[in-house]
Amino acid sequence: MIIAVPLITLALTIIIEFIVYLIAIRKNICNLFLSAVLINSFTNPLANIIANNNLMNLIAVELGVFIVEIFLIKYMLQIKYWKAIAISFIANFVTIFIMFFT
């Protein structure tokens, strides 16, 4: 089933971003995990749908995900903007890096 691949990608993205959140915040693990699940369940499938239907360039899609995640991380994790920007950047950088180099 083709859908299995996007679901695995989503699961891996959730795990990777959860680890980044955990390293950056180190408290309230349940909230961090829930946030990682919800934020990535929102952005990852949308990004895949947009990129795979050639509706937007992959870099533009990733940039969009980075910006949207700043706000989601800021409000879901209740942290300051600069920290949300840093976490979003690192989390997305790590996932893109893994996607391209594995």
Binding site: M1, I2, I3, V5, P6, L7, T9, L10, V37, L38, I39, S41, F42, T43, N44, P45, L46, N48, I49, N52, L72, Y75, M76, Q78
Partner: protein, 183 residues
């Protein structure tokens, strides 16, 4: 002996890229493209023929049926469609073409007009792409050569619709959590 090794080495340089080019790249899957001419019945005085541009060999020309379905070719073929007036179309010669005659010569002698070009029979998509098959629909206009379909129908894995629901559900839950926190 050294010359033989050198020739074999040079030969392998040509062969290896061809061999690897025929493989499916990791993380991708091959999807068939069905090509169809939707208005073929608007030209009762014409016969439509498809041909592979990758070496227009004797066996590459095929007659397009009245249903308008363009025959499938090898994935690296860039398929073209030609319109030939029925009065100039020699059925016997066309049948013999598969045995002996040259396709290019046949098209020239029949005054064939190219109406479609760059038609693909398959494409490589990322595994993450849920498309199962693609149907390209072309509307023929004898005065121009089209290289893009007029419309495209994509058949997607039905579980893809479940995949669309994930971000919607996630967004609803995020909004509910944020509203609850504000209260």
């Amino acid at each position: 002996m050294n010359n033989t090794v050198l020739i074999l080495f040079l030969f392998s340089l040509f062969i290896i890229p061809i061999a690897s080019a025929d493989m499916i790249a990791p993380g991708t899957h091959q999807v068939n493209i069905n090509n169809e001419i939707t208005n073929i019945n608007e030209f009762p005085d014409y016969v439509f023929i498809s041909g592979c541009e990758l070496g227009l060999s004797e066996r590459s020309l095929e007659l397009i049926p009245n249903t308008g379905e363009i025959p499938e070719y090898y994935k690296f073929c860039s398929v073209s469609v030609y319109a030939i007036e029925k009065s100039k179309f020699n059925q016997t010669l066309f049948t013999e073409l598969n045995e002996q005659k040259n396709a290019t010569e046949f098209l020239q002698n029949s005054e064939a007009k190219k109406v479609l070009k760059n038609i693909k029979s398959s494409t490589s998509l990322l595994d993450i792409n849920p498309t199962l098959s693609i149907k390209n629909q072309y509307t023929i206009d004898l005065s121009i050569i089209k290289d893009k379909p007029n419309s495209q129908i994509k058949e997607k894995d039905s579980s893809f619709y479940f995949y669309i629901l994930i971000p919607i559900i996630a967004l609803i839950l995020i909004i509910l959590i944020l509203i609850k926190r504000r209260k």
